[in-house]
Amino acid sequence: MLSFFTCLWQRVTGEGQFLYSLCVVTADNKKESLFIGFVVRFASHPGEADEAFKSPSKAENIKQEQVKKVTDSKQLWMSGNEAIAMAAYEAGVKVASGYPGTPSTEIMENLSRYEGVYTEWAPNEKVGLEVAIGASFAGVRAFATMKHVGVNVAADPLFTASYTGVRGGLVILTADDPEMHSSQNEQDNRNYAYAAKLPMLEPSEPAEAKELLKQAFELSEKFDTPVLFRITTRVAHVKGVLSKGEMMQSEASCGIEKVPAKMVMLPGNARNRRKVVEERMALLREVAESDQFNVIENGDNKRGFITGGVSYLYVKEAFPEASVLKLGMSWPLPEQKIREFAAGVDELFIVEELDPFLEHHIKGMGIECHGKDLIPNQGELNTSIVRTSIDPDSAPELFAAAELPMRPPNMCAGCPHRGVFFNLSKMKDIFVSGDIGCYTLGFLPPLSAMDSCVCMGASVTIAHGMAKALGDEGKGKLVSVIGDSTFVHTGINGLINSVYNDSKTVLVILDNRITAMTGQQNNPTTGCNIKGEAANAINIEELCRAVGVKHVEVVNPHDIQACKKALKTALDLDEMAVVISRAPCVLLPEIKNAVHNPYLTATENCAGCMACVKLGCPAISWINITPEEAVAKGYKEKQKGFAVINEVQCNGCGQCAVLCKFEAINRKGE
């Protein structure tokens, strides 16, 4: 019996991100389609959670009176991302497209469970935004979600959509990640609002996120503009109390309407729209001056704070007495309001995470203020940083942190990626051009088999660039590795370039049948859509052949020897070659819930060679022993220790068994 606890345990084990709507009620407004209970909807296989979610009858043991009890309760406990999904539903969004990325992923995952909203995973953020623009052009409310770096990918349509404006309300959500909890950089996407000449709204907490998102759609339609909506990790992944709201309707009408002056951005039309953009900004500045988004909270007038987003909460807590101008609209800024506020306080402080965005513009108005002279411009803020940056004497005495071994993340026991990285780690003189996904963990010891990682899709292209620079010196040495989702995201363009411009490198596509890193989302290669329903699947090997790759070999990464041979063969070729490493991620339900056939260590046979330990599988640990203990165990005196497999953790992948030359690792019962 798969008990409730077992589910939890297994689902959390080694989990990436997940939908953290634990014992939460996510109800759609209309009826009783809701889900309660102690079932954690970790984003495993969407289909699995959907079952319980959509049909209460199927959700285990939910009694009708309990359902009612929770439905009656006005108070909901939701994360920012869950709140935003509910708000998009209440706002009447009809089409939503996004690409996963922490901390934005759960928005689309949750939204896909509401009825009457079309949702999809796009292969990348540019595609997702363009889909949303299309839906807006057809006259419905449309929503695109992405993480901060995703906006870089979507920047091309973003900047011109600013000129076209909208028909149905269009909101683009950017989830920024100050501190880089799960990102490769911590860019501040408020700069995009300025650069693309778009209004930006920014909530401080889940309840506000919900209200603000709904207003964003109204703003979009009223001012004929896409609206940027910025959240950060501490809004997305914070839970708070909020309530359901009213359903809204778009002012636009759904249908084909040809408005070339607005939709065909040839220079002549674009020049006209360029003027419209400026007129629109002027009108939006008036909105900024009003109290709709930007509110002055009068306190004592010694210190005044201008702040927004989550920083507002830190200011309120650090300086509860002070006057605050809270900006729910980060762009455009209310110059008049800022001047008045500044004039009313003795000292003005701008408290914002990351860039001095507000500060620069406020200083540009000729207003004196403190900002990044005191507040750090890197990483997240918190109450104590804000307080002590401004009042250094208030720093409390703290216990010094203890020095402890680090506990970095690791690929799961039985992760298919490990087989490839183990082989790469054994190859001398090669350069492994990496990419972003679970497999980036191949960089960490003991495998340490990744030499570069820049952004999604950059593996194959960087290897190509190196090959062209190195000439003969790079021959047989350049390998790039990319995940299935990342390959479809932007890797395919790079592969086309490599074929076209005659690269002689090897691309390893790590096809684990899912987008694992962000918590198991489907993608164009998995055969399922965002709801877990059957969908057309792109065949990776055929795609590679179609763009002109002649050598395409599929290999099972758990078969260490076969994998080694495939890599060697590809490296020896004097042409662009692709090796597809194919085995499912162990967190996929069909693997996770299957009965595992673990390997066990016959410790009496262990010769202490550490061959298996060097795989870095978390199920294997090494026990150090003294010479006396060695002798007592019947080992040679000089044997330093022995390896043990944790049967519960072992997934039965068999990678370590092949490496053991002493028959000390065998399948249980064999």
């Binding site: 409730f4 990436g16 014992c23 009694k63 799960s182 918190n382 703290l398 010094a400 690791n410």
Partner: protein
């Protein structure tokens, strides 16, 4: 801030921290508090150190606990208790599951698991309660309920009576798992109450 209570949950990805923090949050909400909880998702969860921060009070602004301001540290692994010393003050209560999970450097035999790892906390005069949550959960009928044992042990340091937690378990847990949860909770609470 004195009028806000701060609970820091720490452990290793996979230990049921989120579940424990959710039960606690619901109990606080049921008792009429405002609350905010902050979690970190993403890479760290693949076997790395994880935390959840729960704050409650009349009105909670910041979702993050300040260093030196955690009133309760509930750690699901010994080393993961010591790691958050910076967050403690002399009046903090620390509840620690006695389980040890080896980080990679220890699992590979490069360094030993630090001996007496909780000493850094007790040296400061901070109260530490150790809980053999695993064994207690096994006795209650399900080892995987160790996280609910921990919640039980912590509950004695919070303002709500056992009834509030029982209500949460009764109304939010599928029937067939209720009993073992109630038992695990009660066994945990007995340690500290």
């Amino acid at each position: 801030m004195a009028d806000t209570g701060n609970i820091l949950f720490s452990g290793v990805g996979g230990q049921g921290i989120l579940l424990a923090s959710e039960v606690t949050a619901h109990a606080l909400l049921a008792a009429g508090y405002d609350a905010k909880k902050s979690e970190v998702h993403g890479m760290a969860q693949r076997g790395g150190s994880v935390t959840a921060q729960l704050r409650y009070g009349k009105k909670v602004y910041s979702p993050l606990i300040e260093p030196g301001r955690a009133d309760i540290l509930i750690a699901f692994e010994m080393m993961e208790a010591a790691r958050y010393l910076l967050y403690l003050h002399s009046e903090s209560k620390v509840i620690v599951n006695t389980q040890q999970i080896k980080p990679p450097s220890v699992a590979m035999g490069q360094i030993p698991y630090p001996a007496g790892v909780l000493d850094v906390i007790t040296e400061k005069g901070v109260q530490v309660v150790t809980v053999d949550a695993f064994d207690i959960a096994r006795d209650a009928g399900e080892v995987k309920a160790a996280n609910v044992v921990m919640v039980g042990a912590m509950s004695a340091f919070l303002p709500m009576g056992a009834a509030v937690y029982e209500e949460i378990i009764n109304t939010r847990i599928p029937e067939r798992f209720r009993e073992v949860n109630l038992k695990a909770f009660a066994a945990g609470r007995k340690i500290t109450a």
